[in-house]
Amino acid sequence: MFKALGKQIKIIWTQLVSLWLVFLHLFNKADTVEYPDVMPYMFPRWRGRIILTRDPDGEERCVACNLCAVACPVDCISLQKTEDETGRWYPEFFRINFSRCIMCGFCEEACPTHAIQLTPDFEMAEYVRQDMVWEKEHMLINGTGKYHDYNFYNVAGKAIGGKGKGEAQNELPPVDRKSLLP
């Protein structure tokens, strides 16, 4: 009987303590950052708006390999490969449906050329959902983004305009197929 009573008193006491402790929070400073008035600091690796970058020569980095599209868990990236007259691959169109995008950054991880990058910009809301479908011209920037020196075609074996066979990094000049010399 007394034990049960004691238990009930303890229950009520703990509730009262809770009430008191929560009441004290009334005098704490709020943690809220008042976003539109006060801009929060966005970290450089924040996964926000997606951009397409250019390599140090100013050419489009994207080679339309489709790896971002296949890595995308919501399948919101679609593109079509085409190539210029020198054999350089680039996307004919590159479309991201941002109304589906979950900003997971898998596309950036999958990209073998550092073309697709996520930026700290997160202010992408639109009133019309159709406006959230972005094409290449909306995403392509005139810079290298986070990776300044990487140039995919300088390490790839494929010849493109301005870079012939054997002219990439760590390559020997093309072999003479008519020679049998060692």
Binding site: Q8, Q15, S18, L19, L21, V22, F23, H25, D31, T32
Partner: protein, 327 residues
Amino acid sequence: MFSFEVGSLLNIALVLVAGLVISIMMIWVERRFLGFFSDRLGPNRVGPFGIFQVIADAVKMLAKEDWIPPFSDKFTFVIAPMILPIVMLMSLGVIPFAPGVGVMDLNIGLLWIFAMAGLASYSTMLGGLASNNKFALLGALRGAGQMISYEVFMGISILGIVVLSDSFNLREIVEAQEDGWFVIPQFFGFVVFMVAGIAESHRWPFDLPEGEAEIISGYNTEYSGMKFGLFMIGEYIGMVVMSAIIPVLFFGGWLAPFGLEFGNEIISGLFWMGAKTSFFLLFFVLVRAALVRPRYDQLMSYGWLVMLPLSLINLLITGAVVLYQAG
């Protein structure tokens, strides 16, 4: 039979408007204070201090599609949310705000409150039943069980006051506290009444009928737009009624404590009644912020095994003391 000394048109308008405005503003007040209690700011964007948040909410609710589920019982579905604000406003009518301020002065004022609180449970029950949705039905069952259970010892808990004041008339109960608030002789009655009152208006932590962790949103799962808004308004009016009835019963109503009366008795009465009501309103908010929701079985066993004995003992002792004093 009925005496309408306070029932002037001005009075009715004043009480109705003030009651509704306070109830609606409570939505904003509650959200802001919940924010403060959890180190946030709460809604502060619409108007100064976010005071017009409620208007924005109301506009949103009114603009929403007024959707009635095709599988529901349509008539009942529409009626159910109306019951709650209506009966809660009716309860508001008997509350004595100050001498000469109020809608009705009923001999059976206390019973009227109980009657209305009993009717309020129909809103929950019918809303859940008419939705034809298993979660709504579960919520309605919970609501009905909870309200019936807690109404029992809520009633018993205030019998001590009736015994002490010798009246069901709320104005007479207030006047009977001239010599000292009933909270002192009726402390256990006060505790039981307050707990039961929270449960009765199914506010946190006793909001099991809409326990969203288990049953989506309980009895109002299928409700949206202004029909949901009516449930919400009704709940907040209930909260105001409950916060007003506690000072009336236990804290001397409009009577100023320690002789701090000023001006004429109406001004002073309204001030003190308002102050006491506000205190309990904020207390309800604090309770919501601080306490966690019990399980349903805990709620029921707490009611029947703790509150009921407590209220009965309280009644017995009060009765004994009164009989002893009467000789």
